[in-house]
Symmetry: C2
Subunit: 113 residues, 2 copies
């Protein structure tokens, strides 16, 4: 994958995963599949699991283990209150960022006219 995409993803993956979990709990493998459905976001499990661990350690996610009928027990992650708050902050930043970049693309904001 091109370097710029690799770099752009930093932070983005976390953002995506948190947004995904807004729809309810899920486990690593499933999250992985969901992300893979979006071409621009394809990742491997070795990218996803560390993020989940980190988010949990930082108190944004909580885990609940449930047995699976087709493999090892699943670890279901869901947002904590802190996590929900964080997603909102991130979404706000993301929105503003898009506005900012749009400005930048169509000419300098309040510069020459």
């Amino acid at each position: 994958m091109s370097t710029w995409v690799t770099q752009l993803r930093k932070g983005l993956m976390e953002f995506c995963i948190l947004n995904l979990l807004q729809h309810g709990e899920s486990y690593g493998y499933e999250i992985l599949q969901s992300l893979q459905q979006i071409e621009e976001l394809v990742v491997t499990d070795s990218t996803v699991y560390p993020i989940l661990s980190r988010l949990r350690k930082d108190g944004y996610l909580k885990v609940q283990v449930k047995p699976s009928s087709s493999g090892p027990p699943r670890r279901y992650f869901s947002l904590t209150a802190l996590g929900r708050q964080r997603v909102e902050e991130m979404n706000l930043y993301w929105t503003n960022l898009q506005v900012g970049i749009d400005k930048l693309k169509r000419g300098n904001p309040g510069d020459e006219k």
Copy 2:
């Protein structure tokens, strides 16, 4: 600045600078000021200059030195053909990415309805 923003910026700064240069040549100091006008993008020169060097080394930018009446000579950067091509690729990816993330936010694409 929060970690996630720091991380999110990776790759993004390059993207922004290239987009800025689509409006014509500019030099480091000026580019810096332009970026600073957008709150979500504030950077320091030590972030901008390495990117400019890199982009030049990779053939996306070309440089032309011109004397300044109020300081050391300015190094004007402008897009090469390769650079213009790259901006377009990036913009395409960026657009698709936004679509993808939007999908992800409003529920899984083609999943349950």
